[in-house]
Subunit: 542 residues, 2 copies
Amino acid sequence: MTALHTTRRLRPVALLLSALLPCLAFAQAVEPVDLDVVAQIRHEAFNRSQVAANLKELTETIGPRLTNSPAYVRSSEWARGKLTGYGLTNVQDEVYDEAFGRGWEFRASRVELLTPRELPIHALPKAWTPGTDGPVEGELVRATFKTVEDIEKQRGKLAGKIVLLDEARAYKPADKPDFRRHTEEDLGELQTFPVPEDRDPEAQNKRLDEYRKRQELVRALNTFFAEEGVLATLSISSWDNGIVRVMGGGGRKAGDPEGVPDLVVAAEHYNQLVRAVDNEQAPRLRVDVQARFTSDADLPATNTFAELRGTSKANETVIIGAHLDSWHTGTGAADNGAGVVVMMEAMRILKAIDARPKRTIRIALWGGEEQGLHGSAGYVAKYLADWPAPTDPEQIALPRAFQRGTGPLQRRAGYDRFSTYFNFDNGTGRIRGIYAQENHAAVPVFRAWLEPFADLGATVVTTRNTGSTDHISFDRVGLPGFQFVQDPADYFSHVHHTHLDTYDHVVPDDLKQAAAIIASFAYHAAMRDERLPRKPFTERDE
Amino acid sequence: MTALHTTRRLRPVALLLSALLPCLAFAQAVEPVDLDVVAQIRHEAFNRSQVAANLKELTETIGPRLTNSPAYVRSSEWARGKLTGYGLTNVQDEVYDEAFGRGWEFRASRVELLTPRELPIHALPKAWTPGTDGPVEGELVRATFKTVEDIEKQRGKLAGKIVLLDEARAYKPADKPDFRRHTEEDLGELQTFPVPEDRDPEAQNKRLDEYRKRQELVRALNTFFAEEGVLATLSISSWDNGIVRVMGGGGRKAGDPEGVPDLVVAAEHYNQLVRAVDNEQAPRLRVDVQARFTSDADLPATNTFAELRGTSKANETVIIGAHLDSWHTGTGAADNGAGVVVMMEAMRILKAIDARPKRTIRIALWGGEEQGLHGSAGYVAKYLADWPAPTDPEQIALPRAFQRGTGPLQRRAGYDRFSTYFNFDNGTGRIRGIYAQENHAAVPVFRAWLEPFADLGATVVTTRNTGSTDHISFDRVGLPGFQFVQDPADYFSHVHHTHLDTYDHVVPDDLKQAAAIIASFAYHAAMRDERLPRKPFTERDE
């Protein structure tokens, strides 16, 4: 296999490989790989890397980047400056939603148990919730709200109180190391394909219904808590070990009920508060949250783009992307500062080696990912394909990805000119392969493209699907969109949506590797005679 | 082996064991074990346990128990009440140091980065350091002090500043699970004895000298920071993942320089502060610490005792103990609330089953353990043995355990009447065996006593030594003092001296098992014909 790296063009070696891997070889065209370009990409990626410096600036000079916060605006300005500096063209922000929501930011929160004893509580506010306007003090009580009917039972009882919304939760000892690399066994397992369960429209309707009810409950609670004069509400962090895992609450949209100050508490502290209430110790708490909405009206939300213009097929596109927005308690380093600087680096590398791809390679830095892939979905709807907008108010109330259109998929002009999208959004973990999303025709292509990176640990092409990030916006309209297999690292043990998602939890060498692979994937996709193959597309069940 | 539990007396089974284990069997007397009593102890321990309820009260109603803090005083009062309620006698506090130090407590701390961007910093104050008397704001600077000479280089530069004392530290991914039970392999390894290195008086002198210099530096720095008008000093937590690990600083003793507000910062936040200084971003910080000394003068410090009076050998003693004091940022649940409630429970069990031991069994709840085993050392010096006090001022300045006496060991009246001491202070982890501390004659005794607890995972008698807690105060004067082998759990990954040392990290079932074993060990030690064998004792090198 090492012979590969002394060979200038892959064709003869690929033929040899075909002979060695007969199960893959029959009837497969040989996918060309330009090892000259690969060598240049690797050299640039490993010897003049900007990933660490860029991640430091993005996460520590700018900080976390909640969509439509002042820091988000600064981050897109920063990214445009960098991308322009790399010599890319068409560097611009583009609005994907004229009224995405209000701006919000927070500076600090302090929560203290005052009686029965003094204890500093580690708690951080949910995004888009109001601050306290100075310290407030009140008795701590418990109240559980499973349905809107539960609200009436509490009416008149909670004025001036601080309310614990969750039960206590037993500590769950972690039986795996916090920081993990995939083992060979993991990677083997990943290459098996589990036959999917039958579609169950009933279950799907039930989920949608539950989602709607939950949203209704949240709105009703926010209205109730404010009317009632509740001082603040507290929930338990979903992870143990002092990790505060926080997303959004309150009212993102102008006109939505903002509710009251609403914080997530470290589990070890939250459980103590529940027990103090249950033991009738009349606990009192002081809460001081410095948070503010930075606009009264909904602001337009933007994605950021730049291009390396193609040559012979300039109007066809290969897109690489990651989301620029983050949650607000860490610095959005793994989620998804890592992806942002990897994609920026891939573009920098291609420009630095003076790559001249046939197709245009575009970098997309998405906004609104954390609230439901809004940036990428908006882009896809505008330029590639979308369903006719629903007219049913119940449907309109759902987030875009849940809505059912009123007719068949409408393909835009860009649909046929689009080749493929690559995404990087699973934390710092280095690339170990790629999820082919059941695009079987793409499998041998990806195998060929990965081969020169086997020595960096990237070897696996799995036919499996993976979800939960921006490639889904492409995949759901039948376009090739992919996310890489990454080492788990400490993404789901420590950093995902937590106050620990900070620069120190990112491994710069992982990002260098990822940037090299993605630069090469983008380049080869842009040079290919054909667009990347597409998989069978089933219109959504209407 | 299960036959054991249907046999009323161990003798025949022990003989059988002797036949099965010939390497242990020759010339060993058979150690009697009263399986009737064992069965009663287990039944009481597992069916009427008080460990969880007691630990909840101790850690959450009373909270952390820094020596000489108001909460420490409340905790000894609470323990005396419980022990009296169990029907024990001679329940009392006894002073081990007339002037141990000042009282101190803290309620809250808030640290916020103000520029270049806003960031709440997770930081907690060291014990015995002053509060800020309201929020203070200042520029963040770095200054390293390796020797007292470094102070002069900084004089005049730090007024009104907040000083970072440590370097940044790279994140170290944990490659082991956070919460571990000993494996059979671990337990096997534990039973090998590593031949100790030759004594090196030179190295020992060097260590003492370094210790003295460090203490001098700390005093000089505390004086300097206060004179200079430094607003606060910050250090990095010694563990990653947002865990704030904090011990003491400032001035415990009246007359010691108190220094300035001095906090430990979560590593992920601390590193950001260092980088902000290094990048010349002129970072400013706001610090607000609510902490106070509760006395100007040094207060006397106490241990708490209670007894189950012996019958035929009442003036001989078996002691079981744990330390009641803790650090201040968690609630001292694993360190050493767990030990306190286990020892209280062992006494409760013995009383509940109406045990009538020949020797007196005493429970000792020590103070001042975290500052250097002060409570147990004071007790041992007063009642068992000590070296004549040093006269050299350099020696006097050292903590008791480091001092060299001016003559041979002075044995007190209690020395010969003392049998053994058992300690529990390695977190929640259940007992897997016992460290015999090179007391080879005790090995077969412990093996016999452990045998009826093999089904609970306690099987190992290792000849190894273990240190760092109160059994050392006995061991160092040649008296039998032991600490158990415990499962590591998350003691050294999450809770030891950290803000996460809380109730939820303790496993009540572990403590039930420990209480049963220790009750049985104490009972059998008290019933034995002879005191526990003693190992060869070498006077310390004078």
